[in-house]
Symmetry: C2
Subunit: 551 residues, 2 copies
């Protein structure tokens, strides 16, 4: 082989279901690669369909689309080696018992890495380890490959893996035993806080244990609740990073095989934890809008920190011209809330309106008076205020085509400190998986250079302002304590007793864990929002609503 074999990892944003657009993007990348003297172009896992395609994979029409795409990819691969993540049909895939029962059809596809070379489809590797935990449902759609594989390119032996495969020591070792000079792994690995470090540790370990370089190309971009962070990278046989791409943006990362080693020329900086999280949210909003065809957002700006951060994210994602912030005061809204909301909107330069809800709340209360007679005031009246706001925002959305962003955080989602059809009304829940303590961190991050969120919004005690003098601390423990216990309970499956053993107040722990359990019905009707932890409230956490588990 030539001494200099140039490999390009194309960290690509693929749109779910959009075969044409994804193919065109791969074709353009191939043209550029040829122009740049690249020998091998690699795109991520399921780049053809986007990830996760979910039940689109059950459509029988998929097979024709895959066949057509295969022909196009052959054509695209002229004068190039092209490695593409795509589903492929399993031979004799449908077992006899399922014949004639389409809806009960078991998995009949493979999650493959297709290798094209100079106009020919020369090889297909099939993912062996199919994740079926967390947000992943791959065994719903795919059967597992059973064979490790090395692709020989004029003497360069490239070991082929798809995503989860590289996390399984046996699979990596089996591939190396086939004589791989380097390992190529295509991925659709979604962001979560701390995930990049975990990924990196793992790759370093697998590389050094097997004394093999690993080239890791990741998908990038938001898809519903998932945000792929990119951060593609290459480690040498000692596990040292020799090339690293950017995060949360498409990128091309080139490395050269000189006959003995992989050589990279660029290692992008890894942003801080706060920067990664903030970029994840911006990416989530930007891509949800672009991929669902929305351009404008409207949100309720209350003068509190959650909506303030949501507004900052929205403006960074969509541009100030596309964001409408609406302050909807009521009797319990403090003057400083209105002032601070207005100020932030001015700083950011977005449209701002003040729409008092008093007339609507009054009419509802009058109409409901005969039914409420004899009942004490309770959260019903608070929910009513919140729901009037929800109706207003949805009316603005319906009339103008702007999508409503909800502003609640993960701490509130967890314990149900939110009003269904009120502040939970909207299409995208920006902070759904962001703990309140992280909301504060991110507000500081937003203000790192200049005041975007008025300082008073950050320092004043949090309040829903739904009753006179109300503060969050009337109903909930301080957020640092709350978030710690909730994170243990929700993200690490630690039982209430064990949390209490760790030094927390028994009554408080039991009350909070119970709130988590009984508020499943609210979360089930919540808007989709970006998953940024190891366990979000979307596909990640599947809990029964009717549930009588007691610890």
């Amino acid at each position: 082989m030539t001494q200099s074999f140039r490999i390009r990892l194309y960290q690509m944003d693929a749109v779910v279901g959009d075969f044409d657009a994804n193919l065109q993007k791969i074709a353009r990348a191939a043209d550029q690669a040829r122009a740049d003297g690249i020998s091998m172009l690699v795109v991520p896992e399921l780049a053809l369909t986007g990830y996760p395609p979910e039940d689109l994979l059950l459509r029988p029409a998929l097979i024709d689309k895959l066949t057509a795409a295969d022909l196009m990819l052959q054509e695209i691969s002229r004068d190039l080696t092209l490695c593409v993540g795509a589903p492929s049909a399993a031979a004799a895939a449908i077992s006899d018992w399922a014949l004639g029962n389409n809806s009960a059809r078991p998995a009949s596809l493979l999650n493959s890495l297709l290798i094209y070379r100079n106009g020919e489809h020369i090889l297909s590797y099939h993912k062996q380890s199919l994740p079926n935990y967390q947000v992943f449902d791959e065994r719903r759609y795919f059967v597992a490959g059973t064979q490790s594989m090395v692709c020989d390119l004029d003497g360069l032996r490239v070991g082929l893996l798809v995503c989860e495969d590289v996390w399984v020591p046996d699979i990596v070792e089996a591939t190396c035993r086939l004589g791989a000079d380097l390992i190529l792994v295509v991925n659709a690995s979604p962001f979560a806080e701390g995930k990049f470090d975990e990924r990196l540790d793992h790759l370093k370990h697998r590389a050094s244990v097997n004394q093999v370089p690993i080239a890791y190309v990741n998908l990038v971009g938001g898809q519903d609740e998932l945000i792929f962070d990119g951060g593609s990278l290459v480690v040498d046989r000692n596990g040292e990073i020799i090339a690293q791409a950017t995060f949360f943006a498409e990128d091309r990362l080139d490395v050269v095989w000189d006959g003995q080693h992989l050589i990279g020329d660029r290692v992008e900086h890894t942003p801080s934890d706060d920067a990664l999280l903030y970029q994840a949210l911006v990416t989530g909003v930007r891509d949800y809008f672009s991929k669902t065809g929305f351009r404008k957002a409207v949100l309720g700006l209350s003068g509190g920190i959650d909506s303030a951060l949501t507004l900052a994210v929205a403006v960074d994602a969509l541009g100030a011209d596309n964001v409408h912030a609406v302050m909807m005061p009521y009797l319990y809204t403090a003057d400083i809330s209105v002032t601070d909301a207005k100020r932030q909107a001015e700083i950011l330069g977005c449209e701002f309106s003040i729409v008092p809800i008093e007339p609507m709340v009054r009419e509802f209360m009058q109409t409901l008076a005969p039914f409420f007679d004899g009942h004490p005031v309770d959260t019903t009246e608070e929910n009513l205020q919140s729901r009037c706001r929800g109706v207003l925002l949805m009316a603005l959305s319906n009339k103008t085509g702007a999508l409503v962003l909800t502003t609640g955080n993960k701490s509130e989602m967890a314990v149900g400190y939110a009003t269904l059809y009120g502040d939970m009304a909207g299409g995208f829940a920006v902070l759904k998986d962001v703990w309140k303590t992280r909301v504060y961190d991110l507000a500081r991050f937003v203000n790192r250079a200049t005041e975007v969120i008025p300082e008073r919004v950050i320092v004043r005690p949090p309040s829903a302002e739904l009753a006179p003098g109300q503060e969050d601390s009337d109903s909930l423990p301080p957020y640092d304590r709350l978030d710690t216990m909730l994170s243990l309970y929700i993200e690490s499956d630690v039982s209430p007793d064990e949390i209490i053993d760790a030094g927390f107040d028994p009554v408080e722990v039991k009350r909070m864990c119970r709130l988590v359990d009984i508020n499943e019905y609210k979360r089930r009707q919540s808007a989709v929002g970006p998953r940024v932890t190891v366990r979000g409230f979307g596909r990640d956490r599947r809990y029964p609503i009717a549930n009588r588990w007691s610890f």
Copy 2:
């Protein structure tokens, strides 16, 4: 062995997560069985935990609960053979790569049939075929058993299977090759229209092919979106039914092994398709309320057929005293709608209120006037009416503790002919998986003996009454045509082109299928509701919201 071995299939309703209650129920059944001279008592798949326990199975505290339950089941089994469906911990279950990464933990449990005899745990069979399609996620939680098993009870050789196993010819045959005299299969098989016939055909076939009697015990009762229909049954070696239990109620089905054959003494009648569907809905409502701790329901009664049927179901499920029907007229509400709503409430004897929404709608319109200026009237104004109704019902719910039932049907859910946070606001969506054409069938069924739903409600043209003179047919094809094409598209994955080829109008088919696709965001925020078809809109159908698939 004794010539007369009495087997009791206990068609049980288990509550998800409620180990204590489920164990107590099994203990009481064991006491009764001993008193009745029963040799072997059988309870359904996962009767210990309820089905589906979903992510409760990921809680580490589960293992202690299973250990404690095992001791109790040993005790319960004195002077009896007791067969219990329950999870069990897999030995060496956690593979090395997942150690220390709890949230990524792969399946480490088995879905087992535990056999206890005279105070001892004598055998555990582990389900070999784990469904991971439709509503099922069993590979998220369980590893598959690999061994067929026969339990020898003083010479009677009982082949053991769990649910899906009996659908796999190879597994049934392997069990028979071990010399099974009869097959015992414990199930948690949810209802869908036509499912009982499918199940029956299958059991008959497996029995006659293998010349083995099969005893099939099913779970019963509603759990969130799933409704287990019971209908446990026993077929002889020729596939003839020799015993059959009731549907949608707990039951005990006894059969006797006389040394050569199974002999049953009772074959319950199989209700008509309409009766089964109606009972499924009643069961769904009744059990969702009882298992989540609700007693009372409130719903909007519009004078239309959907809410009329929902009211009938609610009254049958909860009793007239526990149901509050609220008519919320607006300018476009016909007088006959108010009259008919009132009449049905009188017939059924439930609480009825009339709450005009005009004052609230007016205030919203005045407040929104500056924003709506220059925009034409569109569905925004219609949604506003619907949302005022939603806010009213939710306020009544919050104040009185009654759960709001939503009234939309599957046809509307499919094409998005519903208002998010308006008529979609509520805790349980009774008709969510019932096509409009089936709504008509069920209304006739409800009226089979006496007029419960005023005849005019059934015969008048359907209308949402959100605009002057509005009828459903202004926006949608006639429901018989609509339901046929939607059912093909949604339940059978038939492509629009193939639907057109079947003789439907191309423009109409493409418009309707597109409506299905773009309304995923609404369904994602809809209330849970009983699944009664082979593909409901719950765990069954997992579609991306951001989705650019084009046919």
